[in-house]
């Protein structure tokens, strides 16, 4: 009845697609709560009505995006089992540990987000503000835990395999604090604040371009943009550090990143370009010695080439091209975003104002999407650069996959459902924004009912 189709490419596609969607919502969950608290604090301290209105509205939108983040995250949880049962069956003992910790943070995040969002007029202001703090903390903790799991796939540690290939002698702390954990976590956390900031600011930049330049919109732009403008230059520094760590810890991935096939020194930095099926480099701009210089502070630094590893144990040339392209994209966008931040910073420092030209607002509008692209590109570097391993050096992706031949169907269904949810999310957010512009209110389910004594009306009884 079912077409028996090889599940592997479909499982990969489904995992990549669902992760790629979830990761867009993550920066909002992690960083937005912080910005909301900044706005609310400002409202409390300076009795700033604009800031209060922003904080309120942001928290309502966050309620929507958080729900989408939560359900897409749940799909990922199922998918580890549905798509990669052999991987989980064998390595869940170790890989699972960070997720157990993540569960704690999810609980805290969901609980306090509810208290915060539903507590606006009901809790004393101070207590309300404090109820938002655990959201910020658990966003950071949750990110660190998930990244620990991903980092462990790149740098597995804290276990042994017995003769039968079963995991034994698990040391949870070593699993969590694996070699890649610190740099992946910091890089991702900064990315979350960077993307969250640029994304939210881009909405207000666009509105200001359209002429809505009142104080409310300015503040809505400044809070997130300032945070992003601090994060972006910082991310360059951290990224540089990460690249050197990858050079040491995972030379094969690094070779794919730099499109190096033969081991050697004086390696040029290649921008653009691609490898053909024989591994010959075509096109691109080569800047002499720079790759060597960046990896070891010396032109004599040796970089291991892809060919140093048996073909079956490293990314294919085609995969290396994907990694390299994504790398260029991340770097290019990262640099552009950092420059934009510097422009903003200098102008603010000198004039206490935004750059006057409309080009600044145009750039800030584009920065939202650009930062998301950088984030996705970074993940492609990490994930495709690990191929063919699901657990580097221990298990291949092809040995981890399910045997169910119906994955192509679930992939197509997932695609349709996610597109529908994405469309609905955009529709709903736009409809909220429009109503706010018009000063309208929402009503209960299925038609207005002014007569119903809402729960809020019960207070005095």
């Amino acid at each position: 009845m079912l077409l028996a189709v090889d599940p592997l490419p479909w499982a990969r596609a489904q995992m990549a697609f669902t992760l790629g969607v979830h990761i867009i919502l993550v920066p909002l969950g992690v960083a937005w709560a912080f910005m909301i608290l900044v706005a609310e604090r400002r409202a409390m301290k300076h009795d700033d009505a604009d800031a209060r209105l922003l904080a309120r509205r942001w928290s309502k939108v966050l309620a929507v995006t958080f729900a989408v983040g939560a359900v897409t995250g749940t799909v990922l949880t199922f998918e580890f089992g549905l798509l990669w049962p052999r991987f989980m069956g064998r390595f869940g003992d170790a890989f699972g540990i960070p997720f157990a910790i993540e569960g704690l943070f999810f609980f805290l995040e969901a609980i306090f987000l509810a208290i915060y969002i539903y507590g606006w007029d009901r809790l004393p202001p101070r207590m309300h503000w404090w109820s938002g703090v655990p959201i910020v903390v658990s966003g950071i903790g949750g990110t660190a835990s998930v990244i620990a799991a991903n980092a462990w796939m790149n740098q597995p540690a804290g276990f042994r395999l017995n003769a039968a290939g079963k995991v034994e002698s698990v040391q949870p702390l070593k699993v969590i604090f694996n070699r890649a954990f610190p740099y992946e976590t910091i890089h991702m956390l900064i990315a979350a604040y960077l993307v969250g900031g640029f994304l939210i600011a881009s909405v207000y930049a666009f509105a200001m371009l359209r002429g809505r330049r009142d104080r409310y919109h300015r503040l809505g732009f400044l809070i997130p943009f300032t945070i992003a403008a601090i994060a972006a230059p910082l991310q360059m520094v951290v990224g540089d550090f990460v690249a050197r760590a990858v050079y040491h810890d995972d030379p094969t991935k690094f070779a794919a990143i730099e499109l190096v096939t033969r081991t050697g020194d004086h390696v040029p930095e290649t921008l653009g370009g691609y490898l053909d099926s024989h591994g010959r480099l075509h096109g691109g701009i080569r800047i002499p010695d720079v790759a060597s210089l960046l990896s070891g502070y010396s032109v004599n630094t040796k970089i291991e080439g892809l060919r140093a590893v048996a073909a079956r144990d490293r990314p294919t040339f085609a995969q290396a091209n994907v990694v390299h392209l994504a790398w260029d994209l991340m770097l290019g966008l990262g640099t552009a975003l950092a420059l934009l931040s510097v422009w903003f910073g200098l102008t603010w420092w000198r004039k206490k104002d935004l750059p006057k030209t409309a080009w600044f607002l145009r750039a800030a509008t584009v920065a939202g999407v650009a930062s998301v692209l950088a984030l996705e590109a970074g993940w492609v570097v990490t994930e495709v650069g690990r191929q063919p391993w699901i657990v580097r050096g221990f298990m291949r992706v092809s040995s981890g996959v399910t045997s169910d031949s119906g994955v192509w169907i679930t992939f197509l269904v997932v695609l349709v459902v996610y597109l529908a949810v994405a469309a609905a999310t955009i529709f709903v957010l736009r409809s909220m924004a429009r109503r706010w512009r018009e000063g309208q209110d929402t009503v209960g389910p299925y038609a207005p009912d002014p007569g119903r004594p809402a729960a809020a009306g019960q207070e005095g009884k």
């Binding site: 003992d93 699972g96 045997s403 709903v428 512009r437 209110d441 809402a454």
Partner: protein, 363 residues
């Protein structure tokens, strides 16, 4: 008791928490589905929305908790279940997406036609998901999930007597819990006729659940022998406690003592889950994989236990805080609806005035 046993107990406590709290949220969706047209169903739907709005995401995390404990501590069991029961679990995962998104969206769109679409997605998937999860449990308890990395039958593993009863029972139990919870919420909010509305439904659902349990008894006699045997001996006390709780709930409902009814309803459902665990003991997958055989190495189990202890210290008080604030009306009914006073500010943001003085004066 070994570490593995302890973690298995934690797992079942997690399952029962999800069955009770997550279940009640699903059940609310069930009643939302049956509430009739836009006009007729407005009041019950408004109550449903107020009741589950602040809590459903926190309750949903129990599912994540269960999955994570399962895959960390009992990885092979997790992998085997996912491998065999691929179809119902895929449906459940997507159903969860539609349900959560549909619910969150319905609350913030103004237009009745739009609300209908999102509400429909929410309500229909609120029935589909518990059915699938119940069917999965049916497949597990009837021994249809093999171990060792081979998949069982893709269809028969969840389309069989035990699974069908399991699925229907799950839907019914969710509906029952929700009706009891909603009746007492209506009582707390002073909405008299909704009390009656949900009380009738609670009683109806309890009847159906009773019939299904009886049907399950006969189906499992042939189909899930291990479970059946032990439900009628060592797990019998729990079955009896559950029945007693169920009867007390009904009595309280009939007598209008709504305050305590929900606790007995919780008791009735939680004890069923525990009964399942006790009857299935010592197997994770009856009758091929025991808790001992399927458990992770000691380091992992210790980590899970430590996490559980931290959860008990940190999460329970937080959850308690959420429920208490909610029950004391310290959380707003519907945050998306509180913009009336904001409206003035919105039209001229720069001239914004203090908008915090609105609560309580709407009703």
């Amino acid at each position: 008791m070994t570490e593995a046993d302890l973690v298995a107990v934690v797992l079942f406590l997690g399952i029962s928490a999800y069955a009770v709290f997550g279940g009640a949220d699903f059940g609310a969706g069930f009643w939302d589905l049956l509430a009739g047209g836009a006009e007729r169903g407005r009041e019950p739907r408004a109550l449903i929305e107020d009741a589950i709005g602040p809590v459903w995401e926190a309750n949903h995390v129990w599912l994540i908790f269960v999955l994570v404990v399962l895959w960390t501590a009992f990885a092979e069991t997790f992998a085997s279940i996912m491998l065999t029961l691929f179809v119902p679990l895929s449906i459940a995962a997507l159903g969860i997406v539609l349900r959560g998104a549909g619910f969150a969206f319905r609350k913030v769109v103004p237009d009745v036609a739009e609300q209908r679409i999102f509400g429909g997605a929410f309500a229909i998937s609120s029935v589909v998901v518990p059915y699938c999860l119940g069917a999965v449990v049916g497949g597990v308890v009837s021994g249809r999930v093999p171990t060792g990395g081979t998949a069982g039958d893709r269809w028969a593993s969840w389309i069989n007597g035990s699974s069908i009863v399991g699925g229907l029972l799950a839907v019914t139990v969710c509906a029952y819990l929700a009706a009891v919870f909603l009746a007492s919420d209506a009582h707390r909010l002073g909405e008299r006729h909704l009390v009656g509305y949900f009380r009738r439904r609670a009683i109806g659902a309890a009847m159906v659940a009773g019939v299904l349990a009886l049907a399950g008894y006969f189906v499992m006699k042939e189909d899930a022998v291990h479970l059946h045997r032990h439900l009628t001996d060592r797990a019998l006390p729990l079955v009896i406690v559950s029945t007693v709780c169920g009867v007390i709930t009904l009595t309280l409902l009939l007598r209008d003592s709504l305050r305590w009814a929900r606790f007995f309803a919780i008791g009735a459902v939680a004890t069923v889950v525990w009964g399942w665990g006790v009857a299935q003991w010592p197997y994770l997958l009856p009758t091929s994989l025991t808790v001992e055989q399927g458990a992770a190495p000691s380091g992992t189990l210790t980590a899970v236990i430590v996490v559980t202890v931290v959860a008990a210290v940190v999460i329970f008080p937080s959850l308690g805080l959420l429920y208490v604030l909610d029950q004391r009306n310290r959380l707003e009914a519907a945050p998306a609806r509180d913009d009336e006073t904001l409206a003035a500010v919105v039209s001229s943001p720069a001239a914004g005035t203090d908008d915090s003085g609105r609560p309580g004066d709407r009703g």
